[in-house]
């Protein structure tokens, strides 16, 4: 067979199996919808953790100052005022359930004129667990009062502080989460796909039948790589669209670096799936070994929480897990604007793993 004929084989297998994927609802769900569900869950979680405090304001004063204060506090972005709460009994109930972080009390005499100036003390009530929230709220209020005070008393201010944003981009929690979820999508499609599908093909004697033809293992693998790259990229593209529109994902780096890098990652991780599925005689053999490999990798590579939270020695070890450089590299390109040359350490580790994984995959492959 000529080389052209050999690649014709790969091409036909790739096209037919890709068509098949789009007829398989289960596969569609796991390839496209499943990662999106995770994206929505984790994206929403990250949103609610942006800094804000849920407070109630109980205003017992009739003064204009007090009314103004409530109006300003309601407009404040950091304070989320629950305006339904009118009395302490209700506020305490919500605080004990954790639905409120603190209650701000404006006493009766708040804003009354003393010594020619309006004055008063607001009280922040909080429960034992909300010490930090109460402190922050107190200092926010303090700042506001200082501004008001400054209008009434024309004292010079020797020291002051002001803020200025610099142009450096830093990673938001979502940027971390998103590259982790990319890793999760690659892991799911690359490993669970072949791990479940190959044993089924063996059970039905389909691979055995192909074995009677001159088809070679590398042709079969190559068509799987093409297929997984296309479906993987489509799935990731979908995640990007949602992340860009719904969660304001910021991508600094170039997609021209990102796409080939992700294809490399997909092919690398697929190798693990091909090795597992190609080796296993049936599902019962594949599943336990698959789980032993997949779950530690998932948690140690920074899919769901960043690796910098780990103790240093663990970070050192997990740096070399196959999925880690995929996630790190994707993040460095997307969020830090690095190019493929900058991330050579990641590419190097991936290349070594690529060779190791595929040598194993070819060696352990069984047709039946």
């Amino acid at each position: 067979m000529s080389l052209r004929q050999k690649f014709l084989t790969v091409w036909v297998f790739f096209i037919v199996n890709l068509k098949r994927l789009f007829r398989d609802r289960m596969a569609l769900f796991f390839t496209f919808l499943f990662p999106l569900i995770f994206l929505f869950v984790f994206g929403a979680l990250n949103r609610s953790t942006s800094l804000s405090f849920k407070v109630a304001i109980i205003n017992e004063s009739q003064t204009i100052v007090a009314t103004e204060f409530v109006k300003n506090a309601t407009a404040n972005k950091i304070l989320k005022v629950n305006s339904e709460v009118k009395d302490f009994a209700h506020a305490n109930q919500l605080m004990s359930r954790g639905e409120l972080d603190a209650t701000i009390e404006l006493p009766k005499e708040f804003g009354e004129i003393k010594n020619g100036l309006p004055s008063g003390t607001a009280i922040v009530h909080y429960t034992q667990n909300n010490e930090q929230a109460a402190q922050t709220i107190t200092s926010i209020l303090d700042t506001q009062f200082q501004e008001i005070n400054a209008k009434f008393t024309r004292m010079p201010k020797p020291f002051s502080v002001t803020r200025e944003q610099n142009n450096e981009h830093s990673l938001s929690t979502f940027d971390y989460t998103f590259t982790g979820l990319l890793g999760f999508a690659i892991l799911g499609a690359g490993i669970f796909g072949p791990m479940n599908y190959f044993p089924e093909l063996k059970k039905m004697g389909i691979l055995r039948r192909l074995h009677t033809t001159p088809l070679r293992v590398w042709q079969y693998f190559l068509s799987a790589m093409l297929g997984n790259s296309v479906s993987g990229l489509l799935s990731i593209a979908l995640m990007f669209i949602v992340a860009l529109i719904v969660f304001d994902l910021k991508v600094i780096g170039s997609y021209l670096s990102l796409v080939p890098f992700l294809v490399f990652g997909i092919v690398l991780i697929l190798g693990i799936g091909l090795a597992l599925g190609g080796w296993a005689k049936n599902e019962r053999q594949a599943a336990p070994l698959g789980n032993i490999i997949v779950f530690p990798m998932m948690f140690l590579s920074g899919t769901f929480f960043p690796r910098f939270l780990m103790p240093e020695w663990l970070q050192g070890i997990t740096f070399y897990i196959p999925l880690t450089p995929v996630i790190d590299g994707a993040r460095m390109i997307m969020a830090e604007g690095k190019n493929l040359i900058d991330i050579w350490p990641q590419l190097g580790i991936m290349a070594v793993w690529l060779v190791v994984i595929y040598v194993i995959a070819f060696r352990v492959f069984r047709w039946e």
Partner: protein, 252 residues
């Protein structure tokens, strides 16, 4: 070289200490239908699998068209067609797509539609295999094994589980295949099948060939040894009744 398409000599297979094929030798002539008969566990399937390159040969040789099976696997695979005992195909794939895949495995492009027409499956071209009947599936499986015009075609118990109509239809198909010049090697449990189809048969038991000749000659030899069967006066049997009542045309 003679006109033998397959030459098997002292073929042996061991599993552990057990020898399942004990140094068997036989030839298959070009263009003949050759049957291998024998009870379960006689070593028929193992013998076929060794010749088909699916199992390593422990000792002895098998030559197909003069090519050594154990030395040139890929050359052998491109000149043989194999119909396994229970053919399976991937689901959610159209018949034409499966034909294309099999042709591609041999590095070939074919007109899938006309191939399906040859076995009356043209109108099912866009169906999936899981929606075919048993007989249709069997016919489909046979054409997928012939997409590359092999020299030899192996069938392992092809009619097991088929109804009488589908069996007869399959016999017709196998005879047509032979007419194209393809040599056929078939294993079966059914004696009527062997008698109708096979030019010569080998009877295997416990890993050995215990008889090899034309069906007629084997029967004649038996009679010459003084065998007498209880005489039947009926000119028909129950299968004739069944076919007379339900008709010979193919179902499903």
């Amino acid at each position: 070289m003679s006109n033998n398409i397959l030459e098997v000599s002292k073929l042996t297979k061991k599993y552990g200490r057990k020898t399942v094929v004990k140094g068997i030798s036989f030839e298959v002539r070009e263009g003949e239908i050759f049957g291998i008969l024998g009870p379960n566990g006689a070593g028929k399937t193992t013998t076929l699998e060794m010749i088909e390159t699916l199992r390593p040969i422990d000792s002895g040789t098998a030559l197909i068209d003069g090519i050594d099976v154990s030395k040139e696997q890929y050359k052998i695979r491109s000149i043989i067609g194999v119909q396994p005992q229970s053919p399976g195909f991937q689901d959610k794939t159209k018949l034409t797509e499966l034909i294309d895949m099999f042709a591609a495995s041999y590095g070939k492009k074919v007109d899938a539609r006309s191939i399906l027409d040859q076995v009356d499956l043209g109108d099912r071209a866009n169906s999936f295999v899981e929606n075919l009947s048993g007989g249709q599936k069997q016919r489909f499986s046979i054409v997928t094994a012939l997409v590359h015009n092999p020299r030899v075609f192996f069938l392992d118990e092809p009619t097991t589980g088929l109804d009488p109509q589908a069996r007869r239809n399959l016999w017709k198909l196998i005879k047509q295949i032979r007419k194209k010049g393809i040599s056929v090697i078939i294993t079966t449990h059914y004696m009527d099948e062997a008698e109708v189809l096979c030019d010569r048969i080998a009877i295997m038991d416990r890993g050995e060939i215990i008889a090899l000749d034309t069906p007629k000659k084997l029967i004649k030899d038996l009679l010459n040894r003084g065998f007498k069967k209880r005489q039947h006066v009926e000119q028909a049997n129950l299968e004739d009744v069944f076919l007379d009542l339900t008709g010979k045309e193919l179902r499903g």
